[in-house]
Amino acid sequence: MLEIKDLTVEIGGRKILNKVNLKVEQGSTTVLFGPNGAGKSALLMTLMGFSGYDIVSGQILFKGVDITHLSVNERAERGLGIMTQRPPNLTGVKLKDLVKVISNDHSFDTDAASKKLDMERFMDRDVNVGFSGGEIKRSELLQLSAQNPCLYLLDEPESGVDLVSIEEIGTTIDELLSSRSKCSVDHYKRGNSALIITHTGQVLDYVEPDVGYILCNGVVMCRGNPREMLKEIKAHGYQECIKCKQATL
């Protein structure tokens, strides 16, 4: 589904990702762990093609096609969808109008989706303006469900969310990943693929992960079983990963 090859990225001339190699298989949920400032968010933003993330070298392949230099909307059209941590306020743009444009008049049931995410009373509000942490996440998920991508890039879906909302958000993500998108293939265990950043691992109470990666200082430390990784990180922190990586070099 997604293959990142030797990707090196700079922000304002400062190297933020260094020769990153990472794969997300069709229908799999891949989790990205790492301390603050490791470059996790930068990786997701780069994958989506946002400006300010300069690709110095390397390649991004999506469904076998090189998308390294495609525009943001071309990537979205091909099936990439993102939930960032701090989306911008869109003054004057009503959430219902945005959802309508995103769904592009497909058979998307906006009323049902907004009801399910408890977003009905936000439909006439300006997108993200005055939304709380949990409201922003629910609004993003509503937009993503209207967009129906094949690969979900989710940046800390649990951050800034209260405990009740976490359950709502977690189960919604699980459903979205299981649902059929335009590139779902039947024989995979899930309809869609995901690359999820998580700090606390809380989202994994709702979404079953397949593969984990640990990113420190812009470098991939290792790839492995995500549940074991989380256990290790909780027990020993990321310092152990760095030591371990150095030992193998």
Partner: protein, 407 residues
């Protein structure tokens, strides 16, 4: 009291007096527009081009949803009809003959010698509309008025008086425009507006001119105790130069005024648009909200609030987008407090559309063009309601074009 003769002398002295702001037009270069024009029995009888011209400034030729309609062509009235018998609508000349008391309202808020444009309008004995909502009358549908310049190289002089009596409520939609093919002309418009104790006036003005048209409105609104005035101004099409600075005088306790200004400066357009509020009574409130865009023209967004009595509250907001190089946005907010215990605030921001916003929408699958269009539409949406569908579509098309041009 000033006699007609002394006003005439003042006007004659001011006929060469430049205005404080804006390009200084030589009025001698324009012929005074015709004072006799064909009468239109029914607006539906107008030809299709003319009908479209009216629609583009929010004036419906099928007047089902209007309580009255008034059309001024060049310098004379072409149509005036009234469906709601509880309102008065007629030409100002007719009204002056009918109501002796009206002279106490004429040239009382706007001075004849403010500048050459007011002087010219006085000396030409400008006609215009007279609308009055009698005490306690609440009109359910808006009155529509339309001022059209029908010939090129002419100067149109207009003088309007609008009175909302005590506890009355009135909505007015007024469209000012040029007929198809009239590329060069000059519009001078005097408006004196009175909203009495507890009265409510919602006034929406839509302008749609041509490349080489000069526009000089002169408007003052007087508000009594508890009166409320909302002004919506929309200009989305090219023009050579507009300079206006309507002033609301909050003269009674608890009076309220709000100005919404939405404007686009195309290449070659100079828009000098301000609004001013004088807080001359306690507990008065005002909001001045300006959203402007330049695609290559110049915008000067002025705003002034002067608090002269305690417990006044005012907020001024100037937001300007520069979508293309070559355009200029100049925001000039002025706040003046002359007593303690007042609260005047302002917020101004000029610049480009945030890249982050555009890319956020692109990440949802919108093209860059559509993303910019959506942001621009949101930017200009200050909640003006009650515009006819046809106009809303024209506004939408214009915004879509701006989105396209900006990318």
């Amino acid at each position: 009291m000033q006699t007609g003769n002394s006003l005439k002398e003042k006007a004659e002295k001011a006929i060469e007096k430049s205005a404080m702001y804006g390009e200084d037009f030589d009025l001698n270069e324009f012929e005074v527009a015709a004072k006799e024009v064909p009468q239109t029995e029914d607006l539906e009888d107008l030809d299709d081009d003319f009908k479209q011209t009216l629609l583009n400034v929010g004036v419906l030729t099928d007047d089902k949803e209007r309580s009255g309609s008034f059309l001024m062509l060049d310098n004379a009235v072409s149509h005036s009809s009234l469906k709601d018998p509880n309102i008065e609508l007629m030409s100002l000349h007719e009204a002056m003959e009918k109501h002796d008391w009206l002279k106490d309202y004429s040239w009382k808020l706007v001075s004849v010698d403010a500048d050459k444009y007011t002087a010219k309008s006085y000396l030409e004995d400008a006609n215009g509309y007279f609308i009055r909502a009698p005490a306690g009358q609440k009109s359910s549908m808006p009155v529509q008025t339309c001022l059209v310049m029908g010939h090129k190289d002419v100067a149109q002089t207009v003088h309007n008086i609008l009175i909302v009596e005590e506890d009355a409520k009135l909505d007015v939609i007024t469209g000012c425009t040029t007929k198809k093919g009239v590329e060069r002309a000059m519009h001078l418009g005097i408006s004196e507006i009175y909203v009495k104790k507890g009265g409510v006036l919602n006034f929406t003005m839509i302008h749609n001119w041509a490349d080489d048209v000069g526009v000089r409105p002169r408007t003052v609104i007087h508000l009594e105790e508890g009166a409320s005035f909302v002004n919506n101004y929309i200009l989305l099409k090219p023009v050579r130069s507009i300079q206006s600075y309507p002033t609301a005088i909050l003269d009674g306790e608890g009076a309220f005024a709000r100005f919404h200004t939405i404007a686009v400066a195309h290449p070659g357009s100079e828009l000098d648009l301000g609004s001013r509020v004088l807080f001359n009574a306690p507990n008065t409130k005002a909001e001045l909200i300006s959203r402007t865009i330049t695609t290559g023209g110049k915008v000067i967004a002025r705003g002034e609030m002067v608090a002269n009595e305690p417990h006044c509250k005012g907020h001024l907001e100037c937001h300007g987008l520069v979508l293309k190089d070559g355009g200029t946005q100049l925001a000039i907010p002025v706040l003046e407090a002359n007593v303690a215990d007042v609260e005047l605030t302002h917020e101004a921001a000029v610049g480009r559309i945030a890249r982050e916003q555009v890319e956020y929408l692109m990440a949802r699958g919108l093209s860059e063009e559509d993303a910019v269009g959506m942001i621009v539409r949101g930017f200009l949406d200050v909640g003006i309601t009650g515009l006819p569908e046809e106009l809303a579509k024209d506004i939408d098309d214009t915004i879509a074009q701006i989105g396209k041009d900006a990318v």
